[in-house]
Symmetry: C2
Amino acid sequence: MTSTTRPAASAPAAMRESVRVSLGARSYDILIGPGLLAEAGAEIARRLPGIRALVVADERVAALHADRLSASLDAAGIAHSRLVLPAGEPTKSFAHLGEVVDRVLAERLERGDAVIALGGGVIGDLAGFAAGIVRRGMRFVQVPTSLLAQVDSSVGGKTGINSPRGKNLVGVFHQPALVLADTAILDTLSAREFAAGYAEVVKYGLIDRPDFFRWLGENREAIFAGGPERVEAIATSCRAKAEVVAGDEREDGNRALLNLGHTFGHALESCARYDAARLVHGEAVAIGMALAHRFSVAEGLCPAEDAAAVSAHLAAAGLPTTISAIPGPAFTVDELMDKIAQDKKVVRSALTFILTRGIGRAFVARDVDPASVRRFLAAEVGC
Amino acid sequence: MTSTTRPAASAPAAMRESVRVSLGARSYDILIGPGLLAEAGAEIARRLPGIRALVVADERVAALHADRLSASLDAAGIAHSRLVLPAGEPTKSFAHLGEVVDRVLAERLERGDAVIALGGGVIGDLAGFAAGIVRRGMRFVQVPTSLLAQVDSSVGGKTGINSPRGKNLVGVFHQPALVLADTAILDTLSAREFAAGYAEVVKYGLIDRPDFFRWLGENREAIFAGGPERVEAIATSCRAKAEVVAGDEREDGNRALLNLGHTFGHALESCARYDAARLVHGEAVAIGMALAHRFSVAEGLCPAEDAAAVSAHLAAAGLPTTISAIPGPAFTVDELMDKIAQDKKVVRSALTFILTRGIGRAFVARDVDPASVRRFLAAEVGC
């Protein structure tokens, strides 16, 4: 993993970072900084000369950013067309996967050509999955437009769609050829969306970077405001994820640490039927991380003050930390346990959770007793 | 690659072969011999202890063989359920892919559990694709019931479905954990189906095994009749394919040699709209191989007598060798060229064909002039 500053016309060199994801022949760069959208064409053409492309975006992001991306691709001589899909989690469906696949084939793109995902996690996961299965794998470029996508879903090659039976249950590992994270784009996010992405930034501190968690406590407002601290927070997050992914591309081992807060979080999202009005992914992860810490306290693993510090930091960022903070009908413990049992990380019916011995000391617990989880959730559901 | 004889209750030891596909952590065995269906449960349980499974079969194969497979799985204590799909190429569709995926999830199978494909290439490709994308990849066992599947589609990890825009345009590379090829099952095939699979057997001789091609000429009738020569022909074919796959898992290089006859063949199948009454895959490959040899003659690469010997051998096996042998409306050169241009092997608009310098001397030609192909087809279409 290397980090170098890079020259740029539209931003001070100090505000441009590059993170390398080291995966042998599938290695790639994540470029991070304000104004990158305008340079997307040049960066893509330099690395993937001669390609044609299909840009996939949702209607909201397309209206805000697609013309600028197109202008940049045109300037670099990259022939491309655009597919605009509805915004929102339901777009991660089998039907829309078919739509992207068919459009790629209709454009007669070849294996060496690229699908460019311009959007958040939904578009990135969907378009990446399509790129992973058309002609058994074609090139893929991520232009993440949400904080969540910039620090999490655009890095590491996980792609997929949801099933009525659960989130992300269908997909492939398919690495992008390049990730372009324009940090200025994030100014167009709502406060709620930015905070949701910030939950994943906090996660990297909680897994194994206690110093980063402390630094976040001191710089949270600057990160939200869009100073150089934002670039640094995103680059550190990408670097953290890239290191884990490079060590465990297909999630056979420590990559599971990245799921801190996600087993609880996915169950909450599923119980809320992926209704963004009630709960978005980052909020579910925030509650899930708070739950993982409190459950670790209940299991005698983690100091209570660490769990409290986690909740306090998340709350200060505008994030929920309890199940009852989710608006709408209350969830039952049975519903939650049922969703947890359907998690991809279930191995032979034993529950796998990411638990922690304190801030920055997370670990994979592979044989968690379902009865303990049930007892813990019974107390939490009422909170 | 190793080949060892293995003890068996239901067949002489000499009639049981094992071929290893060497792909590092994804290596697996292909067991070949009469009566293997009855031992499927034991062979699976020995290699994949504790798994549960979903058996996927088409209605025709299910009626003939699924109860015997189930009895064998039951005897080995492998809990399983069964999904029966319509027979025929149209089952390799997005809609049926969704059906298999949903059923796997409904059964709550985990990553370590298996999808077992009991059937020919259609079921193997479809079920393997589903196994490759549920939870981003779960275990997969092939029990091929056609000669074509035993010598070709069940080996090498290519999975996929058709698109209205072409055959096998969507899929993933996903290796099986085990392949069980019961050669006695092939007695239930029609003469036309057996001959179609035999085209792929001949292909391995034509690529780089001239001695095998000669041996086939001497033993064709015994192979069709079901003697030990059948086991040997299938084992040699699997070994040939396994060697190529081990050297080039994802078709970046010499794996393309396996497509001898397939660029023309796929175009013919597509023009015939995958109508099995007109043309099945093996027949398309037979015509495609005859065309590849005659085109190589036309290009001054291959002796005319080699092309004649290939056609004579295929014809003796009951296979077609000319475009006009396909019943129904004639194809135009424009239609054929259009389908060829949509082939997965197209790289930057240059046509890639497998051409040959003679029997057993095939090679990848990466820059074939479309005008030459057009001229050649114009003459062939009238033949």
